[in-house]
């Protein structure tokens, strides 16, 4: 029997176990094949829930399991590193009709994905803050991520974790930094993303600063988050 036939039946519960798979008495494998079916979908669904715990909490465990089952079948991992799987979940959620009433959910998933990526990103050495001048240029640390949303994703993230008040409607841009090994979230001023984009493009601190924007708070978050490193030459 080909692995193709095995694979097709694995992912389609309506298909009977392929012929040629037997129990010790030579009978069709039946429930014994279902063990493999269950292992594939359950292990991947659990991995997705572990990676996106806040999304899971928003929709509920049972709903998330059903959603994950669909995602597993449509977007299985493309390599064995489970930590890298799930990058397409936010886009999947945008087109998944059962969550259309939760328009903020894809951006919350983006935030959780950013946290995962930051956690596994390369280590880096931050610049010495005492050397920073208006002429300084930087590279952003590999663990830095920026998630911009029309929704209060940081407030939703905290509220869902039982760690903040009920979110009020507002757009939020969230910076992810990793001072040592634990990613941190900081809500940014609406002008800060343009500032970050300038720094990332190699502009000096002065060039990157948008007109009338006080960089103090953002710069502090970047420094304490270890987000500023020496530029690549």
């Amino acid at each position: 029997m080909s692995q193709s036939a095995f694979h097709t039946a694995l992912l389609d519960p309506a298909t009977p176990a392929p012929e040629g798979l037997i129990d010790p008495k030579g009978r069709p494998a039946g429930k014994r094949f279902d063990v493999y079916r269950n292992n594939v979908v359950v292990s991947l669904s659990e991995a997705l829930a572990e990676a996106f715990p806040v999304c899971q909490a928003i929709v509920g465990e049972e709903f998330f399991t059903a959603l994950a089952g669909q995602y597993v079948r449509q977007h299985p991992p493309r390599d064995p590193r489970i930590a890298t799987w799930g990058t397409t979940l936010p886009a999947f959620l945008e087109t998944f009709p059962p969550v259309a009433h939760l328009p903020y959910l894809p951006d919350v998933a983006r935030l959780e994905q950013a946290l995962r990526e930051s956690y596994h990103a390369a280590d880096s050495t931050p610049v010495d803050p005492s050397t920073i001048t208006t002429e300084s240029r930087f590279a952003l640390a590999p663990a830095v991520r920026l998630v911009q949303s029309l929704y209060p994703i940081h407030a939703i993230w905290r509220f869902t974790r039982g760690d903040g008040p009920k979110p009020a409607p507002q757009a939020q841009s969230v910076l992810v930094t990793r001072p040592s090994y634990d990613p941190q979230l900081t809500v940014l001023h609406p002008q800060a993303p343009a500032f970050l984009a300038g720094l990332a493009a190699g502009e000096t601190l002065e060039e990157a600063t948008p007109d009338g924007f006080d960089i103090t708070e953002t710069l502090t978050a970047l420094i304490t988050g270890g987000a500023l490193t020496e530029p690549q030459l």
Partner: protein, 283 residues
């Protein structure tokens, strides 16, 4: 290909490394003398997982255990994944590397399970080719682990023990004997677990696995054991382990506990139980 220096685990007891046990392992590991990691969890660019692994590798011999290469897959091995395994082995210089007699990838989709193979000449040739490719890539001999199985293939022509012995003979790889898998698969295949051990090429074994399983029944009411690694080792598996090392002599022995993970003290108690069986044989 097989060189004894490719299998450098001490003949003591190790545990599967879980991040929640890091502090106990560095401060008071008890009887645990080596650690096993799942290769695929240490393929990120940096951060805590790699930092912890670097730290642990200074104190413990490390066994790298791959769970995703799909050695039994019909397609050639994924060159990107081979390169990742080589990179990990190059920087970590582990005491051993092992993988499974199973497939897990089909047409580029990774299924996150160890799927079964028919024991035929075609499978044998393919698995040996893949092991040759892996061993050439990482520059050392690997160990291949016997699977837990829940069903059989009507087309199989060989016993699993003969199949594994022939792979070891052709490729020079070592074998990793998972005694819990022997118990699970033999029960599921309605065979005698001790018969399996007696037919197994024990001279090629350089590591033993022990772990917990779950018990169910199939639609005919027959016992169906599931390899779940989420509980203590059961008494019949301890007994089978005792019988195994009585025949093989002492071997590095791992307690696998991958789900429903207990506090370190409980894991160490399982390791102590294995050590109590292993040490008199080693003496």
């Amino acid at each position: 290909m097989s060189r004894i220096s490719d299998f450098r685990l001490p003949a003591g007891v190790g545990v599967g490394y879980k991040a929640q046990h890091f502090n106990e392992l560095v401060s008071a590991p008890g009887c645990v003398s080596w650690l096993e990691i799942h290769a695929e969890n240490y393929m990120g660019d940096g951060g805590r997982p790699l930092a912890q692994l670097r730290h642990l590798s200074e104190r413990f011999p490390i066994s790298v255990h791959g769970v995703g290469l799909s050695i039994g897959g019909e397609a050639p091995l994924d060159p990107d994944h081979l390169a990742r395994l080589r990179h990990l082995c190059d920087w970590l210089q582990p005491a051993s590397f092992s993988e499974h007699l199973a497939w897990s990838t089909h047409e580029g989709a990774f299924l996150n399970d160890l799927l079964p193979l028919p024991y035929t000449e075609a499978t044998l040739t393919r698995v040996c080719d893949h092991i040759d490719a892996l061993q050439a890539t990482i520059g050392r001999a690997m160990m291949l682990e016997n699977p837990s199985t829940y069903l059989a293939f009507a087309e199989s022509e060989m016993e699993e023990t003969d199949f594994l012995a022939e792979i070891a003979r052709r490729t020079g790889c070592g074998l990793l004997l998972d005694v819990n898998n022997v118990y699970v698969a033999s029960t599921n295949q309605q065979r005698e677990p001790l018969d399996y051990i007696e037919h197994f090429p024990l001279a090629a074994v350089h590591e033993i696995h022990l772990g917990g399983h779950d018990e169910q029944a199939d639609e005919h009411g027959d016992r169906l054991l599931i390899d779940s690694h989420d509980a203590e080792v059961v008494d019949p598996v301890w007994q089978l382990y005792r019988e195994t090392i009585r025949r093989s002599g002492p071997r590095p022995t791992l307690i696998e506990w991958d789900a429903n993970i207990p506090p370190y003290a409980e894991l160490e108690a399982e390791a102590s139980r294995a050590a109590a069986i292993l040490e008199p044989v080693a003496a």
